[in-house]
Symmetry: C2
Subunit: 148 residues, 2 copies
DNA sequence: CTAAATGCAAAACGTTTGCATATAG
DNA sequence: CTATATGCAAACGTTTTGCATTTAG
């Protein structure tokens, strides 16, 4: 069963309806699996396929998909949210290096995180959301550019 | 030398001017040292002291203070930024547990973070900003409320 | 004296909402 | 057939900007 089919059946098994708009959005998300898309970016791609679609629908759909745990949502310093497929990709935990200059996201994973999550859980009774920790800073590329 | 005096002299030694508005903002920040204030919250307190002040000035001042490394800036999922004094408080690194339900911030510190920062730095050439890592999730209080 | 800072209002930004119309189940 | 979803435009809350006026250095 492909990722696409998997998501489609998740929607069908939920109380939400499977509309053509939602199908198209799933398709785009699967095709851009490796990227972290914002609502606006998704909308732009969508416009090329179906110009009638409204931006509000994109936001509503992303909300629903987040609710259905199809998507993970990462939020920036500038108030922009980016979305990423949750299914299949993470067999374990994964976390994000967020560059505050170019806004690129790198997904990383390491045992250290497990220790950290356990520590936070034990000491603070804090339940880490979706095992997602955000590390803000400057990425390799932007560091190099600074030194030109 | 008090935290207040320290900040004032940081401003004086910079290219920015020390205005009465900026002095008042420093005073409020020092008095609320233990809190993470938003621009709006700071503006509200400020209005009680000097009703003439404009919200734009608050934003501009917070930007400058961030630039001067007087403040650290933590941003939420809902696009609201909160500010916190950087000076004196952290002899070492410190990080944040951000509750996505009540939006409370807990400041934590632990050796595990140092290892993590080092790892990210070595493996990804990623320079962690102000040694600040954001861990999103649900805090103790909100967890309890869910179970009522 | 002059460059920088201020207050105000208007604009910008991503996002959400109200509503009439369309449609999946 | 009916509850849900859609597209549009208007509203939202936070933040930024333009501009004439004031002020710190």
């Amino acid at each position: 069963m492909s990722i696409y089919d998997n998501i489609i059946s998740t929607i069908q098994q939920s109380s939400y309806k499977l509309t053509p708009q939602r199908e198209t959005i799933v398709k785009i998300l699967v095709e851009n699996e490796s990227e972290h898309l914002s609502a606006e970016e998704l909308y732009f791609i969508l416009k090329g396929i179906n110009p009638e679609i409204g931006l509000a629908t994109v936001y509503r759909t992303l909300d629903i998909f987040y609710d259905l745990k199809i998507l993970e949502k990462i939020t920036f310093g500038n108030g922009i949210s980016k979305y990423h497929l949750r299914q299949k990709l993470d067999n374990g935990t994964h976390h994000h290096l967020i560059c505050t200059k170019c806004h690129n996201i790198t997904t990383i994973s390491n045992v250290i995180f497990n220790k950290l999550i356990q520590y936070v859980n034990n000491e603070y009774n804090f339940e880490v959301q979706d095992d997602t920790i955000a590390i803000y800073g400057t990425c390799k590329n932007c560091m190099n550019e600074e030194n030109i």
